[in-house]
Amino acid sequence: MPTQEEKAQDEMLVRDMKAGQMEAFDKIFELYQRKIYALAFNMTRNQMDAQDVTQEVLLTIYRKIDTFQGKSAFSSWVYRITLNATYMKLRTKKKEQYVSLDEGLPNFNHAGFQNEKVSDWSKSTDSLLFSNETKGIIEKAVELLPEKEKVVFILRDVEGLSTEKVGDILDLTIPAVKSRLHRARLFLRKKLSNYFDEYQTRSSKK
C-alpha cells in the first residue's frame, strides 16, 4: 500500500495537474514511469509493447486527469489504465490459450490425504536461481497462466502490492483475489516442481 505521505503527495500532484501545472505532470511521470513499464513488461514480456503501453498510459493520464475523481487512490487508477492498455495490446497479438489450472493440485486419496511423494526443492534452488535455464522456465510458466490469475499473481507476488490494493485495482473482493492468487501459485509450484525434479534426476545421472 502507498504510505500516507505518498498518497498525500499524489493528491497534491493531481490537484496541481488539474490546475494546469505542467511540473506536476513531470513529477508524476518521474514517479510512475517505472511502475507502469514494469507491470506492462511483466504482462507482455516484450520491450516494445511495454514501451507502447507506457506512452499510452502517460497520454491517458494527461488527457483524462479531469475524469479522475479520487474515489480510489491515484496509484490504483494508474494501474487500471496500465492494465487496460496492456489488455488491448495483448488482444491484438494472440488469442488466449486455454490452460487448465486443475493440474496444480497433488493427488489425494478418498479421505483427502496426499497420495504422491512431495519432494522439497525449496532449499536447493540457490545455485539454480541465476541460471538462464531456470529464469526461462519461470518466465514461461508465468506466461502460461490465464490472464485473470496472471495479473493477480504479478501485482501481488511480483510487484509486492497488498491483497487489499490488488482488490482495489481490479475491483475484486479480497476472497476473490486470494482464490486467484492461490490457483496461480499452485500452478506455478507444480511447473517448478516438475523442473526441479527433472533437474535433480539429470544431475544424479551425471
Binding site: 513499464y37 514501451q51 493440485l105 512431495v118
Partner: protein, 79 residues
C-alpha cells in the same frame, strides 16, 4: 485432524496471517505429522519468492527511457 486437501486450501490465508487462531493451530498440528504437506508448504512459499526474484526489478532500458522522454516532450509538454 484436517486432511491434506483442506490444509492446502488454507495455505494462502495461512501466509497472509488471516486464519482464525483455532484453524491456524489445527493446520500446524497437521504439519507436525505430515512431511509431504511440509514439503508442499515450503515449495509453495518458495515459488512466490523465486518468481519475484526472477521477474524483478524491471528497469527501463536506456534507449526506452530516451524514447519516453522524447514522447513526453513531443506529445505532452508541447501542447
Amino acid at each position: 485432524m484436517i486432511c491434506c486437501k483442506e490444509c492446502i486450501d488454507l495455505l494462502c490465508d495461512y501466509f497472509e496471517g488471516t486464519l482464525d487462531p483455532d484453524t491456524a493451530a489445527s493446520l500446524e498440528d497437521h504439519f507436525k505429522d505430515c512431511p509431504p504437506c511440509v514439503s508442499f508448504l515450503e515449495t509453495y512459499r518458495q515459488t512466490s519468492d523465486l518468481c519475484r526474484k526472477t521477474l524483478t526489478p524491471v528497469e527501463i532500458p536506456e534507449p526506452v527511457q530516451i524514447k519516453l522522454r522524447d514522447f513526453v516532450k513531443n506529445h505532452i509538454q508541447s501542447r
